[in-house]
């Protein structure tokens, strides 16, 4: 009784609120475990490991900032991986924004059979990444692939695609554009939210289709563009499976490690994987993960800050 009274005095919560709090924590309990075990703990642990040398065999050994120093000042492959990732991200985000908005505009037209068309563009993105990468490895085969055979029909010599260091990243960007169905759906949803009244008003004012698109459609879907760009940045830094599969396929043709030819498809995800799980450099990999996280954070914040100038939210600017 006394304890209970003391508690009631200390806590500002009423008995009913305490009961509700207990219920709320009970229902969200599974996720509290998930948040602590798979988010909070790993973040803290990874920060700790990033200052150590840890190979899983012996306990972590504190090495100060040397992992970060080695990465930034001595590891040229790290910079290669970072450069490749920026190249891929730039290509797939810029190309994807143009292509996906274009396709969404087409899909937003009111013509018959639209459901079928939408399915056509969305289908590639449900194909398992492993299968998709394999399909493109064969489509872009230099001698017997589909694309070079088509180019051959019109007398154009096709490049060696994945096997050429200059073309391997553009090839992966093509694969990335092929699987951008989710972004198309998001743009399409944004397009369908644009109030019809705006177009009618513009039409009365004599605006043609092009100026309607430029002055109404594009500003109205800028929030969707922002969303897709931010997601694109995060996904580029997690890019792994397709590059790994293409690397596996090429490895048996060209020899050498995954990430070839000449490290041209060594992305940050692959490089981190190699250090963590091939060389068991857990500390080094953790430091890398933190640098990537900070880069993603900086890029995302940069995009968000710039968004004030180009993103239009309904009536509230």
């Amino acid at each position: 009784m006394i304890v209970g009274g003391a508690r009631a005095k200390r806590g500002p919560l009423t008995r009913r609120q305490r009961r509700q709090l207990a219920l709320g924590l009970l229902f969200t309990g599974p996720w509290i475990v998930g948040l602590l075990a798979f988010n909070v703990y790993p973040i803290l642990a990874s920060l700790f490991y990033s200052f150590t040398y840890y190979d899983l065999l012996e306990p972590p050994r504190f090495v100060g900032l040397s992992n970060y120093g080695d990465l930034l000042f001595h590891d040229t492959l790290f910079w290669t991986a970072l450069g490749n990732t920026f190249y891929y991200a730039g290509g797939v985000i810029a190309g994807g924004t143009l292509l996906d908005i274009g396709l969404a505009l087409l899909l937003n037209a009111r013509v018959r059979g639209m459901g079928v068309y939408r399915t056509l563009f969305f289908l590639p993105s449900v194909v398992p990444a492993v299968a998709g990468a394999l399909i493109w490895l064969w489509v872009l085969n230099p001698q017997y692939g589909f694309l070079n055979s088509v180019l051959g029909l019109v007398g154009l010599p096709g490049p060696s695609w994945f096997q050429d260091p200059a073309w391997s990243k553009p090839s992966l960007i093509l694969l990335g554009l092929w699987t951008s169905g989710q972004a198309i759906i998001i743009y399409l949803a944004a397009l369908q939210d644009v109030p019809r009244v705006l177009y009618e008003a513009a039409e009365i004012d004599g605006a043609g289709p092009w100026s309607r698109t430029r002055a109404i459609t594009l500003p109205m879907i800028t929030p969707a563009i922002l969303f897709n760009v931010v997601i694109g940045i995060i996904l580029a830094f997690q890019y792994f499976t397709q590059a790994y599969i293409v690397g596996t396929g090429l490895g048996t043709v060209l020899g050498g490690d995954i990430g070839g030819p000449l490290d041209s498809t060594l992305f940050v995800g692959l490089y981190l994987y190699n250090h963590a799980f091939a060389y068991l450099h857990m500390g080094y990999a953790s430091a890398m993960a933190w640098i990537f996280t900070l880069i993603i954070l900086a890029l995302t914040l940069g995009v968000m800050r710039s968004s004030g100038r180009w993103v239009y939210y309904g009536g509230v600017r």
């Binding site: 709320g24 229902f27 013509v111 289908l123 590639p124 990444a129 489509v139 085969n141």
Partner: protein, 294 residues
């Protein structure tokens, strides 16, 4: 007066005709562009399917065999026997279905806590939950692996299955959004009748949320079926491989055998493509249902 009206009518009829013609031309133009782009998106599928039925002579023939006339099922027979396909399929199904059940159970309970219950700190906790969706996985990958290594779970299915019982922020968010649309009166009247929260959850909220639950189940199934990185890290024994992982090994050993490889790609993609077509209907059902509620 009457004449000018007649002339005006004729004029507007003429302009209506030209407008109709212009619209028809635009419609046909739209169809042509859509067909062209759609064809480009579908071309890799055609190449995949036609290759999977080609005899090996036709694969590397010059000129290119665009439409194979000699069809064979050999590639499929090889793809299904080179690797222990049945074993991989069983493993993938076990992991994916486990994940579906565990995700549905955990995420619906948690989403109920975030939407149908009022408690101090709820909304702050929910914002933290949303923030974890932005967390890039590389930063959690290494410590999570180390935890599972301590538990001696490496090489077992456990790292891919049990964690699903702790929920997933994306599906918690999705289900929470859906639960929010269910009128509060429904649960209030049940509570007055003496039902506990679990009973309200089970008898009222879940039955009304079928579309959102189906969407969650389908996405979870597809994510697990398609997942490559986690099986690559955690499954070390060949007998535990999933289809995605088994396929990567297959690529490594048989990289030039495009016939069997494409057959394997078809076999792996077919279930998710079928699911996608079934899911389309579920999605539309879900959207219309939420539309009615609002």
């Amino acid at each position: 007066m009457a004449a000018s009206v007649k002339a005006g009518a004729a004029l507007s009829r003429a302009s209506a005709r030209s407008l109709r013609r212009y619209r028809a031309a635009r419609r046909i133009g739209t169809h042509l562009v859509l067909l062209l782009c759609g064809g480009l998106f579908m071309a890799p599928f055609y190449w995949l399917l036609s290759t999977s039925f080609k005899v090996s002579d036709d694969l590397f023939a010059t000129p290119t065999v665009w439409i194979p006339t000699r069809l064979t099922l050999d590639n499929y027979a090889q793809a299904l026997t080179f690797v222990p396909y049945g074993q991989y399929l069983a493993n993938t199904l076990y992991i994916s279905l486990f994940a579906v059940v565990a995700t549905l159970a955990s995420c619906s309970l948690v989403a109920y806590g975030f939407s149908r219950l009022e408690w101090p700190g709820r909304d702050l906790f929910f914002v933290v939950t949303l923030a974890t969706m932005m967390l890039p996985y590389p930063v959690t990958l290494v410590p999570t692996f180390i935890v599972f290594k301590w538990l001696h779970w490496i090489g077992t299915f456990n790292p891919l299955t049990w964690p699903n019982f702790t929920g997933n922020p994306f599906f918690i968010f999705l289900l929470r959004q859906f639960f929010m649309t269910i009128p509060a009166e429904l649960s209030d009247s049940a509570r007055i009748d003496g039902a506990g929260e679990l009973r309200v959850f089970w008898r009222i909220i879940l039955p009304l949320s079928r579309p959102a639950l189906i969407t969650t189940a389908l996405f979870t199934f597809m994510n697990n079926w398609n997942d490559f990185l986690n099986p690559l890290i955690y499954l070390t024994d060949q007998s535990t491989y999933t289809l995605a992982l088994g396929m990567q090994k297959f690529v490594g050993y048989h990289s030039a055998e495009w016939g069997p490889l494409m057959a394997a790609a078809v076999v792996m993609s077919l279930p998710v493509i079928v699911l996608f077509f079934l899911a389309q209907r579920a999605f539309i059902e879900g959207i219309t249902l939420t539309g009615i509620k609002e």
